[in-house]
């Protein structure tokens, strides 16, 4: 096999560069499609809130604001830690990256546990889709809870997938498959996590804070 010439090396570097940018563009396009997925539900929300604003306000009062606010802060903090994990690896700080990823995962799990307790409490109080108690309330309240369970459920599913993805990144780093020279999967996992955080930033005021 002949030795790699300088031209070959330049070409390889260019190919890798295109691959790196292309991989991230692919991720961003996926995130944009996610915005349009959640956008559809927010669209429904906007129409019904406009038509039935008084009912939405009453129904919103039934939600637990303390858990909602706490979960918002938890998710913001988890986003901070995954940013640290993404930034630490290219700097060669593998340990910091691993620790930050573990903290991110734990915060994600705490969020889901809180959501579990919140939903359980709501179910016990008779608020769940198609429940006998809910059906005696006004149309707006039924629609509010329908949208609430749909969108927070969809968001929770996204977060669960995010936790699984972070777990895979953790395994890849500990096995040396992601290094300071090759970290684009970790960067993309971070981008996904941030999107899930951004979506929650809109869910929180629209459902918990109707004044």
């Amino acid at each position: 096999m002949r030795k790699e010439t300088e031209t070959d090396m330049v070409r390889h570097t260019e190919q890798r560069s295109v691959g790196y940018t292309g991989t991230r563009i692919g991720m961003w396009l996926f995130l944009i499609s996610e915005i349009l997925l959640f956008g559809g539900v927010f669209f429904l929300y906007a129409v019904y809130r406009y038509k039935l604003s008084a009912d939405f306000k009453t129904a919103s009062g039934e939600l637990n604001l303390a858990i909602g606010t706490g979960n918002t802060l938890i998710l913001i903090t988890s986003s901070f830690f995954i940013t640290i994990a993404v930034a630490a690896l290219p700097k060669g700080n593998r340990t910091l990256s691993i620790v930050a990823l573990i903290v991110t995962m734990l915060l994600g799990l705490v969020f889901l546990f809180n959501k579990y307790f919140e939903w359980t409490a709501e179910f016990h109080r008779g608020f769940y889709p198609d429940s006998a108690k809910l059906l005696t309330r006004s149309t707006g309240e039924v629609l509010f809870f329908g949208l609430y369970f749909t969108i927070t459920g969809l968001h929770g599913l996204h977060l669960f997938i995010g936790i699984c993805v972070v777990a895979v990144m953790l395994i890849l780093i500990t096995r040396g498959r992601l290094t300071e020279d090759h970290f684009v999967p970790l960067e993309n996992a971070g981008l996904y996590w941030h999107l899930v955080d951004i979506i929650w930033m809109f869910i929180f005021p629209l459902f918990y804070l109707i004044s």
């Binding site: 944009i32 915005i35 906007a46 913001i76 290219p90 951004i198």
Partner: protein
Amino acid sequence: MEQNPFLTRVRYRIYIFVWIGLCGLTAATVFAASEHLPAWGIPIAIAISGTQAFLVINYFMHLRHDRRLRLIKLIFPVALAILVIVIGLTFVDELFRH
């Protein structure tokens, strides 16, 4: 694989500032909602959430510093604008229908 040059240069300090800002904005949105401003409730909430999203996209997701993703810088706001236009036009339609 070629690195994102910004990632090797960035200081952690900026992430801490952004994190504090995001927590502060969360407190602001809770406070604004407790003030009972019916007409301004939704615009204020959306403005605060929008600012939070702006901070996350630009600093945590590094879009501000990424020279290679100029196209995405354009596409991302366009996607959001399409969503706003679609929702906005629906309300205009609703307004003039009856």
